[in-house]
């Protein structure tokens, strides 16, 4: 099927009621849920992410769009599960130990869900063991978030801890003080500049 312009535009504009109504109408009319997701809904969130990266839309608009996307996913996801269609991958994300900031992390969660991933949100102030458990439960990629210079070193501790346990998940880091240089330094596989970039990095490391 072609892109459903109504759903695409409603997600971009954050019209959650419209998204719910339109997706339900399409499902009732016999549209395939995976096609709705892959050809209309995910491209809409991708477009929001691109506009965000170009500073054409801002965090509030991205949150509203993600909320609208969620209104469609509520309808789509049970249908996908019933058809045995798997998500694109399983990832886990958490703010590191000692850091309670979660605005950035939550945005990444929304963007990853909007991109078709199963996302396990580990929350904030995460001890190493929480990341370990997520990997043992099937997370292929771990995303670590930190806002503070003082909590950033906890990222290296997570990397070292998991390696010491013999676990080799792909690790992506992000947050205000974090840089690609720091990712290289601690042995992380990727650095996400913003929520949109984080999705691209997840796609890249999973393809590698």
């Amino acid at each position: 099927m072609a892109v459903h312009e109504g759903i695409f535009n409603a997600i971009i504009k954050g019209k959650r009621k419209d998204v719910g109504t339109l997706v339900q109408e399409q499902v009732n009319a016999g549209a395939k849920p995976d096609e709705l997701l892959n050809e209309s809904m995910i491209p809409a969130m991708r477009e929001v992410g691109e506009r965000f990266s170009r500073n054409e839309v801002y965090v509030p608009e991205m949150l509203i769009a993600a909320r609208a996307m969620a209104a469609g996913l509520v309808i789509i996801e049970p249908l996908l599960t019933a058809k045995g269609i798997e998500p694109k991958g399983k990832v886990a994300i958490g703010t590191v130990k000692g850091d309670l900031h979660d605005i950035g992390k939550n945005l990444v969660v929304m963007m990853l869900k909007g991109a078709g991933y199963e996302v396990v949100d580990l929350g904030v102030d995460c001890p190493n063991e929480k990341y370990e458990e997520a990997v043992k439960n099937g997370a292929q990629v771990l995303l670590l978030s930190a806002l503070l210079t003082t909590t950033m070193p906890a990222m290296k501790e997570v990397v070292d801890y998991l390696r010491s346990k013999g676990l080799q998940p792909k690790i992506i880091i992000g947050g205000a003080p974090v840089t690609q240089e720091y990712a290289n330094e601690i042995g992380a596989q990727g650095y996400g500049r913003d929520a949109n970039d984080a999705v691209k990095v997840v796609e890249r490391v999973l393809a590698a």
Partner: protein
Amino acid sequence: MPFERIRGVTNDPTIQLMKTREPNFNNLLKILKNEKPDRPTIFEFAITGNYLKPNADPSVPECWDWFPSNPFLASAHKNLGYDFCCGMGSKFGFPTPKHEKGASVGLAHGGVVTDQKSLRSLDWKNPEDFDYTHLEKAILPDGMGMIVRSPGGVLEVLTELFGFEELCYQIADEPELIEETLEMIGTRMVKYFEICASIPQVGVLLHSDDWGFKSSTILSPSQLRELIIPWHKKIVEACHKQGKPVILHSCGKLDEVYEDIIALGYDAKHSFEDAAVQIESALERWGDRMPMLGGIDMDFLCRKSPEEIRARARKLLEMTADKGGYALGSGNSIPDYMPYENFQAMNRVALEW
């Protein structure tokens, strides 16, 4: 940072330099007019108590009221080389939620306003019901002035009351609730500034309101212009009506609203991060129309060597030596995790100029 470590260096030449420097508040006032101060001037709006305590005169009784009139804080600021003491005008504050204690605070959730009923049921205080007489009675070291800062900022308080994500949803869903909340915050904030600015002993005011993330403004520029900036305009007008300069402290990437900040009439901009807008770039782009304070990135100050910090501080002072309109300092504040030798290295460049 343990006090012992700092006490151990009290014979350091930097400390002696700081202590022998005569304060002159006029230097800051000249900077706020975008003029050249008589000598390089240093600026911070917040310094950890761990660095203030060992630098206060031993004869002044220890007191941790965060008022600029507090002789203990004023003594410490003087001995660190500052021309002013910065603090709160009173104990007035907003009914923002208490966060769990920790190294940091997350603001995505945890708000207390969900509707009109919850908004109105909060324990709203009025600034005029608090005591400001300590400002009038202040006896500061000769040459020093007082900077009075705000209890948070208009957007900061709004965000805390709703939680950031809920705020974003409510802006879209319930604009009237947002408007009413802003009215309750804004009228009180303006009144607070009116009271503080009217006190002759208060020299400068400072509105602390973070508007930006690392990569963009927190709200969109159009939302800032519609919801937040009108209240800032009233605050600036309230200060200027009393002939007092007012500084904006606002963190994050604000490129897109710098022209708005300049148009508002703020007398200086404080808070810069290399990942958002570097101070050197800000000075080049807007420095001719807006004085800038501080700006050496916090991460840079914490992780670079004293030599690298001195080099950057020297370049900043050289950049602004002819024109003025600049005071040397950190990009944000001096927390206790900043190595003391790095804090000293930065300030020593100005003190030895």
